[in-house]
Amino acid sequence: MPVDKNVMIEATDVNKEYRRAGAIIRALIDINVSIKAGEFIMIQGPTGCGKSTFLNVLSGLDLPDSGKIIFDGENIARAKEDRLSKIRRQKVGMVFQDFNLIKTLTAVENTESMLWPTVLSNKEIENRAIAALRDVNMLERKDHFPVEMSGGEKQRIAIARAIVGKPRVVFADEPTGNLDPESEKQIMELLKQINRDYETTILVVSHRDNVTKYADRVIKMANGRIV
């Protein structure tokens, strides 16, 4: 089957089940979706509909029980853990609701941490981190620790960390879930700007309706299915 080079992620017949307290929960049921390079996708749905599981399997954090996930031309549905780590390091950026910055590291060190396991020189790592902090407009706070920052600023640093490796795709799980409306607007505009400037594919999980305007396409989920 020919591979469409414009397609960044293609999920085919993806299923995922969980066992919780003896009961089987079908988190993803026959998911079929195709995401093009450079798209800005919003995944929405009520709590427990499977949107975070969907994000996890697309990003290689979790494996589906069945089906195929072609990520940038490679099936990651059956990949080994170290291979998935490598793919995430080279092609993926992650943004979390709780920011997940390391409190003992400064902004620039947190940004650099993504690149420490690579073969890049320390100077190159620092230069890239500085450039990423400039992109998110946080260069003047580079020597500050997370505890000295607001929620919006922490999320900007987390986004800098996500883009410092020049990823093909950025996955964001409720990136504005802990932010006030003004910070939410700034973060969404920043993600849109990254999407526009670097043609990075962006996938955002959000339960808020007011952020859908930033997306090229909205994928709605309910009870483990795309609706």
Partner: protein
Amino acid sequence: MPRLWSWGVKMLRREKKMFAIFTLIYTILIFLNSFFIHTTLQTGAGQTALIYIGIFFGTSLLLSYFYAWLIISRNKRIFATLKCIGWTNGNVKSLVTGNILYTTFLGFIIVIEILFHYAAIMAYLGSPTPILIDLLPVFASFGVFLLVQLIAIFLGNRRVLKLRPMLALKRVEA
């Protein structure tokens, strides 16, 4: 790997309280081990000295494993986040290994420092026996401590393998 070790050390040193407590514990253990080995060598292998050496090595093994366990437990979310952003299990293990070995090495250096200063002061005061512990028992203690650390690192690192990156996505309770 050296880069990950050095960042592990840097991160550890910023966690001042835990770092200081374990460095102190390791220093005391290395010192006491060395002292009992020294005594055994000087006076012959008395049963009491051998029992003390056994107790201190057993204690150091337990403490080392506890230290590795503590480092991993306290930093579960950090390690899960690092795995999410592309660190392999091996990368995370390097960070933990750097932390533990650095603390051990520092304990050893402090013991050497104390012994040199003690010898200098005693020599200055004209003591006929300025040396409290010979260097050989100190190096022997350090060698065995390193071995103990490697066992603790091996056991502790098995927990790193079990750590799932998805843990990083779990919400922090307010």
